[in-house]
Amino acid sequence: MGMTIAEKIIARAAKATEAHAGNIYVVELDHLMSNDGTTHLTIDMYNKLKNRKIYDKSKLVWIVDHNVPCDSPKTAASQKKMRDFAKENGITFHEGDGICHELMIEKYVNPKELIFGADSHTCSYGELGAFGTGVGCTDYLYAMVTGKSWVLCPETLRFNFTGELQNGATARDLILTIIGRIGANGANYKAMEFAGPGMKNLTMSDRICICNLCVEAGAKTALMEVDDIAKAYLKEHGREAADGFVSDEDAVFEKVYDIDLSEIVPVVAKPHFVDNVSPVSEVEDVKINEAFLGSCNNGRIEDLRLGASIIKGKKVAEGVRFLVSPASREVYDQAMSEGIIETFMEAGAIVVNPNCSVCWGSCQGVIGEGEVLISTGTRNFKGRAGDKNSFVYLGSAATVTASAVAGRIVGADKI
């Protein structure tokens, strides 16, 4: 019986010849990522264990990225706990270097790996052929101490892409369109696999954007084949261009969707659900108070280039705050060398350090009562960006930047 990419990765991690959807397997993890959103609680639980030991510290990567720079004494205490524990135990540690998923993809993830991350967007690693999935801190701690965990092998939804994105549509519009179609729990407990001849027209940045957002449809993970584009990325980032898994021809998919990329149009997700998706053209009268370009979804150099190309020579609309946060130090450095940071600054944007920033709704660019934000962040839940009575629209780097210039939601073709 054939296997999907997800089944093959779980079989490998379980040291089994086969794995199939619906069965529970005990697996060994390849990497364990945790950030400052929950690590202080993980450490508290660790310190209460009778037998305290870390199974293999070389698998652990800890990243302070959510509240950077620190915003309060309480946060400072939690982050200090994480920093001190990492140092005492020789755990790989980053602080201020960028958003956890961006750093994992730039530095650590390899094809065929099974990775737990204490963050829901850990599904972001599929473009490198790795099965990343988000867990809570108890699961994380168990894996940190034993090296193992259990997983329910997921069914796979397969998306076959043909054609090429056009008419100003981006990968962000593509994945929002898919989530709008299948719903916020349309892939609950499942893997989403992307394949087909259209894949060759999607860059690594596009692919990361697509995999990253799959949790907003409830997905356990997102997966792709490791082709020459993915291998080139691995090589450029100092890693072996290893092969990934490919789903067998007789693998069982729960459902197959065929999507012509040329039919995708620019869209936004309206408050307060990521699956509440409409074409940008239908919401163009909505005035905004703030715009945000950044996050693990759309904070890469390709997104900043796109934004800069739109705003160059123009100004942020009066009364609008436009925050830009490169996803990592590497992206920030590249943006500086290309003059992109300068372009945003000249336009009147507020360029901040690499971190989760506005998407996290806690330390930068928090919005007030009744205010409207358009964001490339990952979520638009009620209160996600600040006051419980505020409104978040999600869109592409192009839509967000154009809206910052116009002062209301518009497509990039309208400015």
Binding site: A184, N185, N188, G218, K382, G383, R384
Partner: protein, 156 residues
């Protein structure tokens, strides 16, 4: 018996406990902000032994384990929903919070109704009616019965 707090579909973890409280040092300090954006009365009214009854996809969104942890700290005995988001479901089991799939009860109860849960036989009683619940899979039931995942770790 415990009273019901009833919420709709796609209740996300930001609504259960918002981002700005997650880095508070302890769950006890966070719990007073439970459901702050969704239901300001929850924290005033909740008593140990109460239930949450919800529509589909309860707990969607972030992986923050603080979400089931604050519900547990508030004394919530179990969450019954038509379906649960994956990470919330798993986190709840790991913390020993019963999360029970029940397709029927949501459509027949109101906030404040008194309900009784029979985990062993797999049903709830409310307003004179019994509603069957889906059994928790054996692997996860074993974790729940031990009082959560870390209890098993301590015996390693």
């Amino acid at each position: 018996m415990g009273k019901i707090f009833k919420y709709g579909k796609d209740v996300d973890t930001d609504q259960i406990i918002a981002s700005q409280y997650l880095l508070y040092p302890t769950i006890e300090e966070m719990k007073t902000h439970t459901f702050e954006s969704l239901d300001g009365d929850f924290i005033k009214e909740v008593q140990p032994g109460d239930f949450i009854v919800a529509d589909e996809n309860f707990g969607c969104g972030s992986s923050r384990e603080q979400a089931p942890a604050v519900l547990k700290a508030c004394g919530i005995k179990a969450v019954l929903a038509k379906s649960f988001a994956r990470i919330f479901y798993r986190n709840s089991i790991n913390l020993g919070v019963p999360v029970i799939v029940c397709s029927e009860v949501y459509d027949h109860v109101e906030r404040g109704d008194e309900m009784e849960l029979n985990m062993e036989e797999g049903y709830v009683s409310v307003n004179g009616e019994k509603y069957a619940c889906t059994r928790v899979p054996a692997y996860m039931k074993n974790i729940l019965d031990q009082g959560g995942l870390l209890a098993s770790l301590d015996r390693v």
